[in-house]
């Protein structure tokens, strides 16, 4: 199996340290989301892994070998770095034929990957006539050309339409199921949450987190319960008596159309839906709504980066981040 091993990797551009003593490993068989704000060093790390940039110190290897020592590397590693890599005056098919020729890949792979990314009907059109989403698909086709065990994609959902986003999600899941090593960078949290199993989070070139996505969210966002009954005051007293910390939230969406005389929705922190359900029904309160609130990746991520930013403006209330109402 082929993993990506980044060991004490550092890259400096002049006085700026783009990647700072980074160590992590990307395992096969799962999708690893590579997160961080713009400028955190995600793209730089990918270029270092691919031997395109020279590290200041440290190393990056694929299955124990440096990328530049691979014979016919496209057969082992596929990468999407820039959607603009294909020359506008060349056809998509010719762009892939050029890449295939350099690594002695059979010509039929070109047509196969064009089919796979949905560009087969427009394969003989010049790339300059393509939308950003189509260029992105062409870049993904190039990454899949050599049927590689390792796939690195830098912001693959950029410019994709809604169907494209669903498609890339399915594709990434499938590549991981097939046992490949998949590293996908993004700064879009909801998007990443839809396909990643594991996360590597960067901030200012440093490693902030390297853990399964579930753990990452649960460690940072407390689970809560949303509950609504006919009598908000009774509910509040009930929860307070049992030591729960509950706050009322304004309804945002019903426009007062319920006409049931209830208060707003109550968010109960540090609670499980089973406990609150039993409690409320035991007290004989009619339950209008009861839902578990899972934390989102976005909340967990913002919590992490706020903690990491030394001089970040603190919110007015120093309370921990609560799950978002959905």
């Amino acid at each position: 199996m082929t993993s990506i091993d980044v060991q004490d990797l550092t890259k400096e551009y002049g006085a700026t340290r783009a990647v700072d003593r980074l160590t992590f490993r990307v395992e096969p068989g799962r999708v690893t989301g590579f997160l961080g704000p713009n400028g955190a060093g995600k793209s730089t790390t990918m270029r270092l892994v691919l031997g395109l940039d020279r590290p200041t110190s440290g190393s990056a290897t694929l299955g124990g070998r440096a990328y530049v020592t691979l014979e016919e590397p496209l057969r082992h590693v596929g990468a999407l770095l820039d959607a603009g890599a294909a020359h506008g005056s060349r056809t998509a098919r010719d762009h892939l034929r050029v890449l295939a020729a350099s690594n002695r890949l059979p010509g039929r792979r070109v047509d196969e990957v064009l089919e796979e990314v949905g560009l087969a009907p427009v394969a003989r059109r010049r790339v300059r006539t393509y939308s950003l989403g189509m260029r992105q698909r062409l870049g993904i086709a190039a990454a899949l050309l050599g049927d590689p065990r390792v796939v690195l994609l830098d912001e693959p959902s950029n410019g994709l339409d809604p169907e494209g986003i669903v498609w890339i999600r399915e594709l990434l899941r499938r590549l991981a199921r097939e046992g490949r090593t998949v590293l996908v960078s993004s700064h879009l949290m909801n998007e990443t949450a839809s396909f990643a199993d594991h996360l590597v989070v960067l901030g200012r070139g440093r490693l902030l987190a390297d853990m399964p996505m579930r753990d990452f969210i649960h460690a940072r966002v407390e689970p809560s319960v949303r509950v609504r009954t006919t009598d908000g005051a009774v509910l509040r007293d009930l929860l307070a008596r049992h030591g729960y910390d509950a706050v009322e939230r304004e309804d945002r969406d019903d426009g007062g159309g319920d006409g049931d005389g209830s208060g707003g929705r109550w968010i109960v922190r540090h609670a499980r839906v089973a406990d609150i359900g039993r409690l409320v029904s035991g007290a004989g309160l009619p339950v209008l709504e009861l839902a578990a609130l899972d934390g989102t990746l976005e909340q967990a991520y913002l919590d992490l980066t706020a903690a990491e930013t030394e001089f970040a403006a603190r919110p007015a209330s120093p309370s921990p981040i609560r799950p978002q109402e959905v």
Partner: protein, 241 residues
């Protein structure tokens, strides 16, 4: 990885880009047309050189050759194309060598073709006045024309790799070829003879007065080209893509 497959890929790159194919065609057309125009000019100059007249178009054809060489490399410096190329072929020295062959060989082929076309069009336009051109002399000049144009295309390719920009390369080379050489053109017998275009074009003259002969002149041009290619190789190998 095999050099042959990298070369195949680089050759495909040239073949599949219309501007590059157009540039190669232009080398032949421009050279022949300007040589024909020069032959029609019957001003009765005292030091009239029929051979140089028949190859006069090379001064303009070389601009097309230089543009071809610069574009073939500058295509790699737009939109992250170089990253895709070097991810496919991480051995950078080998990659750039293949690139140079894929530029130099077609440039040599169209250069020879341009030489033939130029000689044919030039002598046809000169009519009787072309009688001074011997058969062997003409043949040598055709070969020199091909070699010279290939060397100029490679000079531009090397310079583009060093400067990482086709615009910068052409911004230097085109004014240099069209202006500087004409300005210092009549001052022979000095360092100007060693400029890459002046030295290489000695072979296209029937009457020579400088230090350099036809082949030593081309050798001087080749030295300039080699320097540019080495500088380009250094840049490709050392810098981050």
């Amino acid at each position: 990885m095999a050099f042959a497959s990298v070369l195949h890929s680089e050759w495909l790159k040239v073949r599949t880009l219309r501007p590059l194919v157009a540039g190669l065609v232009l080398v032949v057309v421009v050279t022949a047309v300007f040589s024909a125009l020069a032959g029609l000019d019957d001003s009765g100059d005292a030091d009239f050189d029929p051979l140089f007249s028949a190859f006069f178009g090379v001064a303009f054809g070389q601009v097309a050759a230089v543009t071809f060489g610069a574009q073939a490399v500058s295509a790699e410096f737009r939109g992250g194309a170089l990253r895709a190329s070097l991810a496919a072929v991480p051995r950078r020295g080998r990659w750039f060598a293949a690139k140079a062959v894929a530029v130099g060989v077609p440039a040599l082929a169209v250069g020879l073709l341009a030489g033939c076309a130029s000689l044919a069009a030039g002598t046809a336009a000169l009519g009787d006045r072309a009688d001074g051109i011997g058969r062997a002399e003409g043949l040598c000049a055709v070969v020199a024309c091909g070699v010279y144009l290939a060397l100029m295309a490679l000079l531009a390719a090397g310079l583009t790799a060093l400067l990482r920009s086709g615009v910068a390369t052409l911004g230097i080379l085109v004014p240099f070829l069209l202006l500087v050489s004409f300005v210092v053109g009549d001052m022979s017998g000095n360092a100007a003879d060693l400029l890459p275009d002046r030295a290489g074009q000695v072979a296209l003259h029937g009457t020579r007065d400088g230090l350099l002969g036809p082949w030593s002149g081309l050798a001087v041009t080749a030295a300039w080209t080699a320097a540019a290619l080495l500088a380009g190789t250094w840049s490709i190998r050392r810098r981050d893509a």
